[in-house]
């Protein structure tokens, strides 16, 4: 193995991701973010299986990963990656260390617990119903005794197995001298099972096996829903991380190109960046010319030109020409990594948040224990004897067991995140909805958030039709965003016939019209006589393009970044609902002021650095405000972490999507408004559910304390309250749930 590694450093570099299996096979997971349909799966699986070395390829559509097995050998990782890319998909080697196996295992063991406790609960309930019916008819003591023993045989092992998540959590809480909801749950379940076993041995009438096991069943459902939400959120976050660590193509001293992980890059290395690839680390261009999309870093939608000697930064996208880049900073020193560090520091702002359920548990758990202990002592004092006193205390514990509470929050959250998913909003953090329900200020970033981030031709009407058509004919050959805006503006016009159209990366597009050279691009490239350019009025603050026109003159095309179509409505609706709306932008003052005025936003701040944004958010949170931050650029990522809760559009930088609690997929801004409304509704449902659960306790607890609660009443009360909170949560889905 070592000799092989020395021949192929690239394989060695991926060793963290490759798993060696028996039979000389290797296995590795690739993340393929673009895979989202049956056709993609078939293409990838088929394409990979066609490779000689590959023995098995299996795509997982839920996690967007492909597991590949192949015969261990040189360069196979690169071949497989190249094969996936030749099928038209981006592929990133997925680091197995990134995958939280624990998450998956936890979900599975919860599902196993649900299955086992569900099976046991159903069968024990069947027997219990017979016993309850038998109390009013002719069931004899022996049959009842038999039923109790069978119930015990089914329920006790099931409780011991399925109840473990609660027992373990309660034990670890008690170990550090704390109380959580699992302490009364565990106590209730264990005491109910234990006391019922004693009762069975004594041949008594009442046992609580059904209550104990169905408690575990209901609570496990709530626990599973919570864990499913959490792992879905985590999955999305990990996939984003994996994309960032995608390979770089290093040009080694022997002139050979090798694909290596980004972490392996050292200052002084030379890398090749093809058009469409992201720059792997900060460096300077050694050869080549291109346009680089800097929107990740600056939020600026217009690409910058990169020529030999220019600096390029990790995470920026190479648009038009191939580049050779000399790396200046190792991956942990890059601008990207600095922002990531700023983000980690900002995260502490959220540490003070305690979930509603936990806050309630803090006083609920001790209260329940006092109540049960008080019942036991009270019945002892009036001379009832330890046995009836214990059974009454157990019934108090069962009645107060926070079964409905355990379901109240997760069911509402799952229903609400389902509604949001249909509206195109992905809930990325488990408690994000709860935090979103509390906000009273909304802070927007400008470029790419309030605006579409796509430039728009402003002065189309002022340009002669023939020139516009000529420009559109040239522009249609380029992927530069300004060219595409021109092409859109000129669509439908009769295009002149051009020859030899080609793009000059970093400058513009050039072609031959009736043996005359025409150009569309940067001013200094198109306009030979700079005095013409100087005469143009320069009040326009946005980007521009120049065309060498038909009559020999130069035409100027002006662009601006258009507001999202419904930005005005959304801001107005937010203001109307009593929220303060702010605008924090890295852009120039004049542009920000103009946007703010258009939207009716009175609080705005221009020229904000990432640190300025954090400072502004911290100032707000110190004055007691709870802020929703909506942003998309890499420069927003730390602010997204610092805010109470955050959203970002799906067009945002990967790292911002990682940082945000919600990601919305839409051309419009309306999902922001919808999410706030649904989060409010969800919060109301949770509070209502707590109210329902408490009022049920208000009725049932006195009965239990006084000793009137039989297993039948306990079972009916428990199931009905659980069903009630679930139904109340489902109301979110119906009626006006999806509408603002």
């Amino acid at each position: 193995m070592t000799s092989m590694a020395s021949h192929s450093p690239a394989i060695d570099a991926w060793s963290g991701q490759v798993r060696s299996l028996e039979n000389g096979l290797s296995e590795m997971d690739f993340l393929v973010p673009g895979m989202h349909c049956a056709g993609c799966m078939r293409k990838i699986e088929g394409g990979l299986s066609a490779l000689d070395a590959v023995t098995d390829a299996r795509a997982n559509l839920s996690t967007r990963r492909v597991r590949v097995r192949w015969q261990t050998g040189a360069k196979n990782v690169e071949n497989i990656r190249a094969a996936i890319e030749s099928l038209g998909f981006d592929a990133a080697p997925f680091d197995a260390r990134l995958a939280d196996q624990g998450d998956n295992a936890r979900s599975r063991s919860l599902l196993r617990g649900i299955a086992i406790s569900g099976f046991a609960a159903a069968n024990v309930m069947l027997l219990s119903v017979s016993v309850w019916a038998g109390l009013f008819s002719d069931m004899d003591g022996v049959t009842r005794q038999l039923f109790h023993w069978i119930s015990a045989l089914i329920a006790l092992p099931a409780v011991a197995y399925a109840g473990q998540p609660f027992f373990r959590s309660a034990a670890s809480a008690l170990k550090v001298g704390q109380m959580n909801m699992d302490v009364p749950i565990s106590l209730g379940v264990i005491l109910a099972s234990g006391a019922s076993l004693l009762e069975t041995m004594r041949g008594a009438e009442h046992v609580y096996f059904d209550a104990a096991i169905s408690l575990v069943f209901f609570l496990l459902i709530g626990r599973y829903l919570e864990s499913a939400m959490r792992s879905r959120a985590g999955e999305a976050a990990r996939n984003l991380l994996a994309i960032r660590s995608v390979a770089a193509i290093r040009i080694d001293e022997d002139g050979e190109r090798r694909s290596v992980p980004v972490e392996a890059l050292m200052p002084g290395d030379r890398v090749f960046v093809a058009p469409g690839m992201r720059v792997p680390a900060d460096g300077a261009v050694a050869e080549g010319a291109s346009d680089v999309d800097m929107s990740l870093l600056s939020g600026e939608s217009v690409p910058e030109r990169a020529l030999a000697g220019d600096n390029v930064y990790a995470g920026t996208l190479n648009l038009s020409g191939p580049l050779l880049v000399d790396i200046k900073a190792a991956s942990e020193d890059t601008l990207l990594a600095q922002i990531a560090r700023l983000m980690e520091a900002a995260e502490q702002g959220r540490a003070g948040f305690v979930r509603l359920a936990d806050r309630i548990a803090r006083f609920y758990a001790p209260m329940v224990h006092l109540l049960a202990a008080g019942t036991f002592v009270g019945w002892m004092l009036i001379g009832a004897g330890w046995h009836p006193a214990l059974m009454t205390a157990v019934s108090v514990l069962i009645i107060t067991c926070p079964c409905a509470l355990g379901l109240a929050v997760p069911v509402v959250q799952v229903v609400a995140s389902g509604v949001l998913l249909r509206l195109g909003v992905l809930v990325k953090s488990a408690d994000g909805l709860e935090r979103l329900g509390q906000i009273d200020e909304v802070v927007f970033d400008k470029t790419g958030t309030l605006t579409s981030g796509v430039p728009d031709l402003v002065n189309g009407d002022a340009i002669p039709i023939a020139d516009l058509a000529l420009a559109a004919a040239l522009a249609s050959q380029s992927r530069h965003p300004l060219s595409q805006a021109v092409a859109v503006a000129g669509a439908g016009l009769p295009m002149p016939k051009l020859e030899q159209i080609h793009e000059v990366p970093g400058y513009g597009v050039e072609g031959i019209l009736e043996s005359r050279k025409v150009r569309l691009g940067r001013r200094d490239w198109v306009v030979q006589d700079q005095s013409i350019a100087a005469r143009e009025d320069d009040s326009h603050s946005g980007p521009d393009l120049w065309l060498s026109g038909l009559d020999g003159s130069a035409r100027r095309f002006l662009f601006h970044d258009r507001l999202r179509s419904d930005a005005q409505d959304v801001v107005a609706a937010l203001l109307a609902s009593g929220k303060t709306v702010r605008l924090l932008s890295g852009d120039r003052e004049a542009v920000v002021a103009q946007t703010a005025a258009q939207l009716g936003i009175t609080h705005w701040q221009a020229r904000c650095s990432p640190a300025d944004k954090i400072a502004a958010l911290n100032a707000l949170s110190e004055s007691g405000k709870r802020v929703l931050m909506v942003g998309d650029g890499l420069n927003d990522a730390p602010a997204l972490r610092a805010a109470h809760v955050s959203m970002s559009p799906a067009s945002a930088a990967d790292i911002s999507q990682t940082a945000a609690d919600f990601v919305f997929q839409s051309e419009s801004l309306r999902p922001v408004l919808h999410s706030i409304i649904i989060a409010h509704k969800a919060r109301n449902r949770v509070l209502e559910n707590f109210g329902l659960a408490f009022s049920y306790n208000l009725v049932a607890v006195p009965l239990a304390v006084l000793g009137f609660v039989t297993p039948l009443i306990a079972a009916v009360a428990m199931s009905s309250s659980s069903i009630l909170v679930t139904l109340n949560a489902l109301r979110l889905r119906t009626g006006s749930g999806g509408q603002p």
Partner: protein, 62 residues
């Protein structure tokens, strides 16, 4: 009432079969990719055959 002595074990056995089937399905990864499983039904069978024959053509593992 002796019929109960048969009926209860039979009921438990049948229910247990269902439980075991679920646990097997969980263990064998049937729930790992719910989205993919929903889409796979749309794939053509003959394409799967092709894939299998491709795999068959691959050299045996060392």
């Amino acid at each position: 009432m002796t019929v109960l002595l048969f009926l209860i074990p039979i009921a438990l056995f049948l229910g247990g079969l269902g439980l075991l089937a679920f646990l097997w399905a969980l263990k064998s990864g049937q729930y790992d990719d719910l989205d993919g499983a929903a889409e796979r039904i749309l794939l053509d069978d003959d394409d799967d055959d092709e894939n299998q024959s491709d795999e068959g053509n691959a050299p045996p593992s060392a």
